[in-house]
């Protein structure tokens, strides 16, 4: 970890010195509290921009902590485990950015499975990741990362993205070394974006009962018109031999013109982890809002109901977070 941290800092210093005119550095500072016993704070810093010859880079590091490790509050896109760690650190180029597409990425990046961008989960108004995107649920962790290469080929209307790499996960659910394959096909027509993804990797070795390969398939879709966005994912597969995880979520994100700085969000989701006596079948319903208080300051408030009980046993929680984005 120390070497990775040193490498990240050195890379930032080096590239900032070489290309100080065009690189952008920014930081997100988040503080929040949930009624399920979690107070949290975190910072994510990143440097991104061109490094020459048509290549661009992204370097990102995070530190975030919470007072309640059992709660999944605030872990929408980053681990809240009290450690500094590098996140996405990659270089990329769009060989052809208009018409036919050919884009290449190399380094450490989020697993390109379904709706996977940090911004999709971290800044859209939800304080928690979907249940199916929470590593502790034997699902596809939202902080799973790959070290490898990724190629996107096609057109904006239809593209195929293929990633070959090895797991370098952040957070608690970490997979051992292996060769991963992730394939995603995406179609875009007018206001509709549909994707189909497949992942083959090794499971998080949480116990001696874990064996075999992890294989997930998923379908994701987004539709947007007039400030109303509907999006969702359905993911099914096996986290390891003998068990299955199935689940998904449907989000409504409303930002109509008359709503000004307010974005209203809602989520319905389910998770079915079938593992005999250890099975769990949580359902969760979330309503909330993101309010842009100033250009770079936003409040996020979520009320959620989980009939089977949250971390503290209660079925209702109120999450509130404040995020300041600073661009240098």
């Amino acid at each position: 970890m120390k070497s990775a941290t040193f490498g990240l800092c050195a890379a930032v210093a080096l590239t900032a010195g070489v290309h100080a005119q065009s690189l952008v550095a920014e930081a997100d500072l988040t503080a929040g509290r949930s009624t399920d016993g979690a107070s949290a704070g975190g910072v994510q810093a990143r440097v991104l921009g061109p490094i020459g010859h048509g290549w661009r880079m992204t370097l990102e590091g995070t530190w975030a902590g919470t007072t309640n490790d059992d709660s999944d509050a605030f872990g929408a896109a980053f681990p809240y485990d009290g450690r500094f760690q590098p996140m996405e650190t990659y270089v990329e180029t769009n060989v052809r950015a208009r018409g036919p597409l050919l884009a290449v990425k190399a380094g450490r990046y989020r697993v390109p499975f379904g709706i996977s961008s940090r911004a999709d989960h971290g800044y859209s108004g939800f304080v928690r990741a979907p249940l199916i995107r929470y590593g502790g649920n034997f699902a596809l962790s939202n902080t799973a990362l790959e070290a490898g290469g990724d190629v996107l080929l096609g057109r904006p209307s239809l593209s195929v993205e293929t990633s070959v790499g090895t797991p370098v996960d952040a957070g608690d659910a970490t997979r051992p070394h292996t060769v991963d394959l992730v394939v995603r096909t995406q179609a875009f027509y007018r206001s509709v974006i549909i994707g189909v993804s497949y992942l083959d990797t090794r499971p998080n070795p949480i116990g001696p009962f874990v064996d075999g390969r992890t294989r997930f398939g998923g379908v994701d879709a987004r539709w947007m018109r007039g400030g109303i966005e509907l999006r969702g994912e359905w993911i099914a597969g096996r986290p390891f031999d003998g068990v299955t995880t199935t689940g998904g979520y449907l989000d409504v994100i409303a930002h109509r013109m008359w709503m000004g700085p307010v974005t209203v969000v809602g989520r319905v989701e389910r998770l079915d982890y079938d593992a005999g006596p250890f099975s769990m079948h949580p359902r969760r319903y979330t309503a909330g809002a993101r309010i842009r208080v100033a250009q770079q300051l936003a409040i996020q408030v979520n009320v959620l109901h989980q009939p089977s009980g949250l971390a503290d046993g209660r079925t209702v929680a109120l999450d509130a977070g404040l995020t300041e984005t600073i661009r240098f």
Partner: protein
Amino acid sequence: MIVRAFALALVAVVTLAAAPAPIDLTGQAWAGAKPVADAVVWVDVPGAPRSAHPAPAVLEQRDEQFTPRVLAIQVGTRVEFPNDDRVFHNVFSFHDGKRFDLGLYPVGTVKYVPFDQPGLSRIFCNIHPQMAAYVMAVDTPFFAVTDAGGQFVIHDLPSGSHPFHAWRPGGTTIDGTTTDGASELEVRWP
């Protein structure tokens, strides 16, 4: 008859030759003692010819930021909003000026917005809160955006004394008048 025609032609040539040539107006914008980058300076010249279909302008989404940060255009210009990032963007403008919401679109896609009224539009991305830009639509072909040193050039400005205006991010719009024959202009916010 021939003499009369010759005389008229001679008068026309002399008149044209005597008309002052347009100038390139150069200048610098200041806020107190500091030069101001990304300020928009525009000059009103009523009756000056202008293109009915100005060339499209581009406000690019790259590296999770808009480029340029300030875009000045003539009213009637169509602005292209290409997404050159691998992540989705959702460009919108809900404040003053042109109001629109382009929705989500992926890398390689370009969406367009015609700016058919003068005024300032503040542009945001609903997914990336740090992304912000300004589009200033002005009802004149004589405008410029200051560079990093606060300097600007407005080309081919007809001679004469004209009203000018200047705006900068976070500042007010200031007004003034150019001096006939002067090719330099200093714009200063207190």
